[in-house]
Symmetry: C2
Subunit: 246 residues, 2 copies
DNA sequence: ACCACTAAATGAACGGCATTCATTTATTAG
DNA sequence: CTAATAAATGAATGCCGTTCATTTAGTGGT
């Protein structure tokens, strides 16, 4: 198959999430064989997967649970996706459309990058299990992802970046964003050294004095420790990369 | 170096990896009940897990395979570790001892950070499945990890960093390092936009001109695209953070 | 109008996985 | 000496992703 690119170009957008409960008692089985109207499509599968993730987390996202959500036998899913990895791919690409690239093109490059980077981090902080998927995923079959890269690339080009520096800069920023997304999910006491505190004096002192900061957020900086680190790192990267513009 | 902490302080260092094949025909079963000399310990489990990972990758690291490597029933492992996650933890902490922190204390802070960051990235580029583990792992029961943080913290303090800025700086650098480790494993043609290239002109152009660079590595910068991005990002972070020293 | 082909569903089955439990044997503490 | 604990086996459990044979419905060609 592999028809050229897109998935469901001009499709009728059947809401496949509501499986027509049909009034009567809850879960009456569908009889075998192809149904008159298709029950599943990629959009419906994506929506159901997201719903499931939001309700039960990524541990709750199993092919069986997904099938149950769609009121379908598990094996039916494999008529539309090749694997669970394929489902994660669909979810990932959808999430990319939630990343805010509106800051590019309007005002200063720095502001565009800030909006993009913070929203990018926030989206994937809630979906860290997808990060290993994204990082290795070819953009070819991920239209939303490709669209995001296009807007960001244009933002950099318009800001005067030399062509050959654009991709490395985006990649470096993205790497920082992915790593920082993990950081958001870490427990706040992750650095508590416990019983061996006296053997690590410098580290223990540094942790204490950084944890005591409970001041009001200024500018883009928000409250949590992860936000402080992200703010500082992002500003350093913006300054560093901003200097190589023509 | 770094010897301070370490588990199994004065143990007899029994090589638990070689399970005494005992001359005779290959796999003769051990009889049930506690053996006179203990077969397993945490160090042996860690070594076997690493061996398995190097030979078969992380997909090959199963509790059953690990038990087989140690010539033991799978359930025996649970007398020494509580879960597979626990095994990953042991491996992770061991890997931390491979990160090169020798650059701190000798010369300039910048050089110390460079050595540390590059080796840190290289170690975990070969072990990306551990990154989600580290990022959420409390440092308490990871002595090697703690030792690394201590050395790095001291390096920052000696370089004149204000106490409260040390942890955020390390966290930001670490986030960048983890994200960049993923980047190393990505296929080189990850950005090939394929059939929809004409709808993403800016991105496609940027990809083309960055891919054409095949020049000799200068300084810390190595050959691959991932190295270029890492080099640029790291230097930007070093410059940015270096400025806040007293 | 027929007929072959393909698409989309069911339901049973499979192998692999982490983990638990009862049992056996050996060591250690009181 | 004896009770408790530690460390092994081996059987069993439940879940997970995936495959396969089967059934039914639409589709394209003559």
């Amino acid at each position: 198959m592999l028809e050229t690119t897109n998935e469901r170009a001009g499709m009728p957008a059947v809401s496949a999430t509501q499986g027509r409960p049909s009034g009567s008692a809850g879960t009456q089985r569908r009889r075998a064989g192809r149904p008159s109207a298709a029950v599943l499509d990629k959009a419906g599968i994506t929506a159901a997967a997201l719903e499931l993730i939001n309700r039960k987390g990524y541990d709750g996202l199993t092919m069986a649970a997904l099938a149950r959500e769609l009121d379908v036998a598990p094996s039916a899913l494999y008529n539309h996706v090749a694997s669970k990895q394929d489902v994660l791919l669909l979810v990932e690409d959808h999430l990319m459309s939630l990343v805010d690239v509106s800051g590019f093109g309007s005002g200063a490059w720095e502001a565009g990058v800030r909006t993009w980077a913070w929203s990018y981090r926030d989206v994937f902080a809630a979906h860290t299990p997808l990060i290993p998927v994204i990082a290795v995923l070819p953009v070819t079959d991920a239209p939303q992802t490709l669209a995001m890269y296009e807007t960001v690339s244009k933002g950099f080009a318009d800001a005067g970046f030399p062509q050959e520096h654009i991709i490395p800069a985006i990649v470096a920023l993205e790497s920082f964003i992915f790593g920082s997304a993990y950081d958001v999910t870490a427990p706040e006491d992750i650095f508590e050294s416990g019983s061996m505190a006296e053997s690590t004096p410098y580290f223990t002192a540094a942790v204490r004095s950084s944890a005591s900061r409970r001041d009001a957020p200024a500018g883009q900086e928000r409250g949590r420790p992860a936000d402080t680190a992200f703010h500082r790192g992002l500003e350093a990267l913006i300054t560093g990369f901003g200097a190589i513009r023509k």
